[in-house]
Each structure stands twice: as C-alpha cells, then as structure tokens.
Assembly symmetry: C2
Homo-oligomer: 487 residues x 2
C-alpha cells in the first residue's frame, strides 16, 4: 500500500471527490500506481486528506465504475490491470468481435484461414463485399454434425478423453489417406499424415522439421498469410513471379531457394492451374539436390467446376519431395480447426526423431466426429451440395461480368471461390476499387496479394471478386452496381 | 508401367506363383519398384512369362494380402507406399495404439501432457503402475459434458463455426481470467490471455514471442517434456539444482539465463512449494534486467490437500515479468486440448505485433463447451469431487507408506497426484525400482526426471509414486507388495 499525496483545492472549480478521483486516475494512467497495487482504505485516506469518508467513497466509486480499480471483499481496493488502459490497436471487445466477424449478413463465416490483408478491413461500409476469404455456411449439415456428435458422446467412454497420438488418431489418418487418394491422387500411408489444428500450426510444426535456415520461394502474387508466417520464422523469402503456368522454374532456380511453396491445383489468388510440364520441372528441381522440397498447399481443391479434375502435385512425386498440406476450413468450417500434412519419408523420419513428442493439437472427440463425417459419406454429400451452390453463385457472377465483357477479361473461373477481372482499357485496380466503393461494393486489388514487386504480367489492373458468402441476389445486385460504374 | 524381368525356375524348389511373388516382393523391398508404380496386368505378365494367368493371380493375391501392392478398380495393381516397409520404430498400429495408451486397466486416461520418460515404457508387464502421469477419468461428469455439448449444438448458429479470434473467444478468456483470479490470485485482463491447443503449442507460440536466442534455466529435476521442447527450439538450457526452496537463485544468477522455467506452487516432480522469500528473489532477478522473464507452469495447482492455498507466482509479480501457463488437461481431460497462457504486457505487445495473425488452434465449439462448463460451476464441482477422490487415494498410499515409515521419508504429499519416497538406508532408486518390478509393481526413479547431473540433495535414492489412475484397492495391494520387498 502506498500513501497518496494529493493536493486538494477546496475552493477550486471541482468537487473534492472529483479532485481525488482525477488525481488517482492520472496516477494510474501514468503508471505511478501499478496494477495490483492496493489503495489506501477510504477511512485512512479520508483522515489523511481531512475530508469526509463519503467524499473518498464517491471518488472510489467513480474509479470502480470506470474500471480503474476493483474492490476485493475484505481486502480493499486495488488498481486494475493497467493494460486495460493501453490502446493495443485492433484488440476486440466482447461484442465487437462477433459483429466484426459476421459482417452485416450475420449468417456467413469469415474465412480467417485465408485472411490476408483483404479480410482485415471492416466491411461495414459496404453493401456488397466480394471477399475471396469467406465460405457459405448456410448449407452446412448442422443436423448431421449434431447427430454425429451426439452419437459419439453417447458411446463415450473415457478412452476418447485421453490425449491420443501426437500425429492424430490412426483411424482419422486412415480416413484422410483414403479420401486424399481417391479425390486428389495423393499417395501416402496414414503414417505419413499429421493432423494439426489448422494450417498455421502445421507450418509451425514444419519449421521444426525443416529447420531454421530455410530459403523459401513463393509464388507472386501469393497467399499472404503464409508469407507472414514464413516471415515470422525469419525464413529468407524469394517471391518468384508467376507466369501463365505458375511459378517460373527459371526464377526458382535463380532464387537459390531450398523450398518452394506452391498451390499447383488452383493458385491463390490467380487461379492458375500448373500444367504437368511445369510440375515436372519443379519436381525435377526438387530432385536435384538433397534438402529441396515443394510445399503443396491444396487449399481449395474441393471446388472445381469445369474441365478435368486436376490431381495433386504430390500424386506425381516419385522421389518424396512434396509436403502436402490441406485443411477442412474451407470445405467444412473454419471453426473446426483441423488440417493435415502429408510428409515425405525423409521428413517423416526427422519428425519421428525430433518432433514426435509434441502433443496433438486436436481434441480426440473432434477427430472422431470428423472421422464419422467423412467415413459415412456426409463429407462427400456436403461437397457435392456445395459445388452446386457455389457453381450457381459463380454463374450469377459471370452473368454480371458478361454485361461488361467488352471491358474485362475474366480468369480463374474453373475452380475455387473467386474470379479475377482484368481491365482491358488499362484502368488501374485503384480506379476500379474506388469506383466500386462509391456504389457500396467492395472488390479487391490483385496487388494486395503481392509481395514486393509485382510481375509485369500481373499489372495493377486486375481485381478479385469472391462470391462464397454472398447470396445469389446479392451477387446480381452487386454486379449491377459494378456495371453502373465500370462499364 | 514397367516390364518385369523375372527368371523363373520351373523345376526349382518353389511353386511358380511363389517365385513371382518373391521376385516382386524383393523388387519392392529393394526400392526397384517404387510406390505408386503400376504392375503389369495379370494377363500381360502371364503371356510375358509364359505361365498361366491364375499363377500370376495367385502371386498378386499374396502380394495384396501382405500389403505390398493394392488393386484399384479398372486401373490395375499398384505398388503400395514403400514407407509401409520401413521400420520407423515406435509407430503405432490401429489397435496397438489404443491398448498401449490405456494400459491394462482400460478405464484410465494416460496423462500424455506430463509424459516424460516415465510414460513411455509399456506398462503391460506390471500389475500396479504408480505412474505420476495419469489422471482419474472415472468420475468425470460425462453426462454434464454431453448435455452442454448438446445444448450448444441445439443453439448452434453458423457463427460458432467461424474461426474466431486468434487468442480464443473473448468470453472464454474472460471466464478463465475470473477463474485464475479467484483460485490462483492471477492478476490479468482477458486481453492478456491466449488460449491454445495444449502446453506444447503454447510453448511453441512463446518461442515466437521470446525469440530464438534464449538461454533458459530449468529446475533440476524437472518436467522433461518441457526440457525436450526447449531443446527442440535449440534454446541453451541451464539445469539449476533445486534446494529445499526450489530453484537456487545463486544458481540462476550464475547461469546467465534470460528466462527461468519454474513450477513454484508444486514443483514437478519434487513437490516443493517455493516459499515467498525465494519467489521474491526470483522476481527481483527478473526485474533487474530487461528481457528477463519467469515462465510459471502452474500445471496441477488445482489439487492441494493440506495447508494454506499457495497463490501463483504471477500474483506477486508487480513488474510484468511472469508468463503464466496452465492447462485443463489434468483438471478436466487430456483430450480436450485446451491450455492458456497469460502474457505480461511487454510480451503481449510483441505478440500483437509479431504473432497475432496465427489462427487459433482451438475449435470454437469446444471453447464454448468449456466456457459453459466453467461458468456454470460444473468445473468447480468437478474439482471438489476430484480433490476428495484423490485425497482418499493419497491417504491409502500414505497408509501403505506408514508400514515402511522406518525406512522411507515421504515428501510432496501436500498437493498433486504423486509423492516421493526417499530411502533412509541409502538403497539406490535402481535397487528400489528393480525390487518393485519383481513383484509386478512399477515405481519411478527420481533420476528419470533429471537433466544432466543430479544435485547432491537429490541423491539417486528416491522414487516417485503417482496414484491418480489406480483404484483404492489397487493402491493398497500395490503398497502391500512394495512393503514385502522394501521394508
């Protein structure tokens, strides 16, 4: 407890209680009274300052109600944690958090996984937000999910409350191996699969496997969240300009990178599918030297609308050079926090040696629910339903584009949940996004996804429009508005 | 597809089908046939080798049944992932995994969180395993947990299927802040709390905050899992001998460490409670230099049976030097994978700057369930019930010890789920554990928890007995057996 030296001005402009209140408040704000510090009792301070006890009580009440101090029964008054007073920038508030995430439609899921800069701004000011970072949760089979959960908990025994294997439960890894083999041509045994709480965590784990001194090549433009993560590892990052087939292999060679992070089946955000020739070039590059690897982020492979299915890069990997990463955030829900990483054997051995003691990050109950969801065919059905829903939304988007066909080239429409529009008349993305904002529509400039210098073929004349979380009517109306300012 | 050149010996000692089978099997084992490679069709190979098709089919069947190849409808036969053939040591098998974890009692939860060396050996050979790494899940309020889950899913809206705040949902952080304040005297605002999928993950995140070049001091003996984790970060680790008050502060000063990892309220495994004097010494040490921190692992603070409640070290921290880490693995269940870390302000700022983009690792649904469980008083009730159950178990253990009182000093009995027995006659822990093993009882030598050299006061004459997962009868019988060989 600390004495308070307060100079009171009995005839000043302010009430005595207010002077006491302001004095203490300032002491706290200036860090002179520290978090957890006990204030003098009201009786003591009243005597000390020669004022009535109720005057001090009034001052303390004010401080209490403003959250500067707290009362602890039988112990007295204490200074609240000071951090409450720091402005830490983006920190959420209990109510605000929810609202910020839900946006104005309320019923949609923000896709934090692929958050990028694009997801960070408030979208409250926009009537239509064509964010590429959302998914549509309205058609999610909640009833099925609940039923599975219920059944699993009915069956519950203490076994599934134990922590389980560090890699995740074998049964789920088996199910995922089967699913990846069938749907993506991935060749792996359940042993090579590590279940983890999302992409970010899996990359953290991968850092432990690959080590610290990695030079990593990334496509440019790219998935900026992965960029930030690699940057936080202090990896040296070489952005490699994309050409129309994906990461340029000359660029990759020139970069002297050890590892390349690629999205061959549907590059984010360009939507480019890496053709087999380029894939072989990259695999060849990786095969030439020990320690070279390709990280394949197969983030939205589930949603392909046109053309032949594109197998994963891992499917062509004969030398064990591909680290395959996927997640259920986009195909099921961001909230479930389950992703997986398929390690080639050489890295699996390092994992077993160096990292296999890290406990799993996914609840065993959740693993069991997900396993049932996939193994009993619900996942497949859900994906089929979502493909139809997203396809219809994309059709509406493309219909809107047709009204502006003279002025815009479209790309990236074969798969995924967003398209790109390139202005034929050379208007800059800034002109386009600004014009859109004026009519309450939010679109995203391609340069937001770039790292460092933009490659010449990706001029700043391209905007990205995501459609997953908008309703069909909203897509139509949004495109109508865009046409009114863009066409 | 590859031609197979097989030299058949029609009159050799082996059937033709067997020769084919062995040849292909060896090709695969030697890596000449690679994973995913297609084998010739049975018809083609039969023609090529001039044998009957059924001979080839027989060979293929054998390879299929042994898992060397797999059949894909309409596509043919393919070489299975080769890693199946590697012996990767401890990798689990679908059935074995479960059994290994459950031990023979089946109904208990292995406490992987505090796994150490102690948890790694198979316990199948022992009738009574006094492991310090288990908890008792038999009294877990499954019905309540199910009900909460059900209610949350009834109420479900798509909002909780979104990924939520990187730090965890505000509402849960608020609940945890309140709980920690009441039960552990921790002073923090919800803003300082980061929810994460277990201790290991939180330490990985902390590495990102503290940086790479950390010299960390650890108590010796200590929690070896944390040691392994810091070691995997390539942190320089100074094991500091414990004296009867905990980590020696001279030792700490001499170590030139930046960060000290301590368990002040109930050290693992010694059970020592750090007295206030030593706490102040450590806090003073931390306060003397920027960048110095104390990591307080408050891993089993919930279970205190005797004496006054011991507040957390964080409660005495006036300078923001304590990083407080806790988990629900021991107090609820290892499977739920939810822990929390309370950051001091200086580190919170670094987190906000450098790490706040890492997505949360805990499912929002699980966060909501846990929040209800705590906020509605179920957690409190569960803890009270468990304290009673564990207390009774410990009483039985101590009763057993009383029969050997002449020969053993007991310590660590005021809290936690294990005790230490020190041999007064100087028998070594090896003699003690070996003698115990002969009568089917497993106890743990203290040196298993040591790093490097053991401190003189922790001579290798002490064994550790955990009791959480044993039934009262088992404890009595186990102690009876120990007395028969130890007394």
């Amino acid at each position: 407890m600390k004495d308070l030296t307060i100079t009171l001005h009995p005839h000043g402009g302010k009430h005595l209680y207010e002077q006491i209140y302001l004095h203490i408040k300032n002491e706290i704000r200036q860090g002179k009274l520290l978090q957890g510090e006990r204030l003098p009792s009201t009786r003591y301070l009243a005597e000390f300052l020669q004022v009535s006890r109720s005057t001090v009580e009034l001052a303390y009440d004010q401080l209490l109600s403003e959250g500067y101090i707290e009362a602890m029964p039988y112990r007295g008054y204490f200074v609240c944690p000071v951090e409450e007073l720091y402005d830490l920038g983006e920190e959420e508030r209990p109510g605000g958090e929810k609202n910020a995430e839900e946006g104005e439609t309320g019923a949609w899921a923000s896709m934090e996984e692929r958050g990028d800069k694009a997801g960070r701004r408030s979208s409250a000011a926009f009537a239509y937000d064509f964010s590429p970072n959302t998914i549509d949760m309205t058609a999610f089979p909640y009833a099925t999910w609940k039923k599975i959960t219920k059944n699993i908990l009915v069956d519950v025994n203490s076994e599934i409350f134990t922590s389980g294997s560090p890699k995740g439960d074998y049964i789920l890894r088996e199910t995922i191996a089967r699913y990846l083999h069938t749907s993506r041509g991935v060749n792996c045994s359940p042993k090579q699969i590590i279940i983890g709480a999302g992409n970010d965590y899996l990359l953290m784990l991968l850092e432990k496997i690959l080590g610290r001194h990695v030079k990593i090549a990334m496509e440019n433009p790219t998935y900026r969240r992965a960029y930030r993560i690699f940057d936080s590892f202090a990896y040296r990052i070489s952005p490699i300009a994309m050409d129309s087939s994906g990461m340029s292999s000359q660029g990759l060679r020139a970069s002297e990178a050890d590892v390349a992070y690629v999205m061959p089946s549907h590059q984010y955000p360009t939507g480019i599918v890496m053709p087999i020739g380029r894939r072989i070039e990259l695999l060849k590059w990786a095969g030439e030297k020990e320690g070279r690897y390709l990280i394949e982020d197969d983030y939205d492979s589930e949603f392909r609308f046109r053309g032949k299915p594109v197998p994963s890069l891992q499917a062509s990997d004969r030398l064990g050079k591909v680290i395959y990463i996927g997640t259920f955030s986009k195909s099921i829900a961001p909230a479930i926090r389950i992703g997986y990483m398929v390690l080639p054997l050489s890295l699996l051995r390092i994992y077993e040696e160096k990292c296999s003691f890290y406990s799993t990050t996914v609840s065993r109950i959740d693993q069991r629910i997900l396993n049932e969801f996939i193994a009993n065919g619900h996942f497949e059905r859900h994906l089929n339903r979502m493909r139809k829903i997203y396809r219809e939304k994309q059709d509406n988007l493309l219909d809107g584009w047709k009204g502006m066909e003279r002025n815009f080239t479209v790309s990236g429409e074969d798969a995924g949940l967003h398209i790109l529009l390139q202005d034929k008349r050379g208007r800059s993305e800034k002109e386009l996004t600004d014009a859109a904002a004026k009519v309450g529509v939010r679109v995203y400039g391609l340069s937001e996804f770039c790292v460092g210098e933009i490659a010449p073929q990706w001029k700043a004349d391209t905007v990205i429009l995501g459609y997953a979380s908008l309703k069909n009517e909203q897509i139509k109306e949004g495109m109508e508005r865009l046409r009114s300012v863009w066409a």
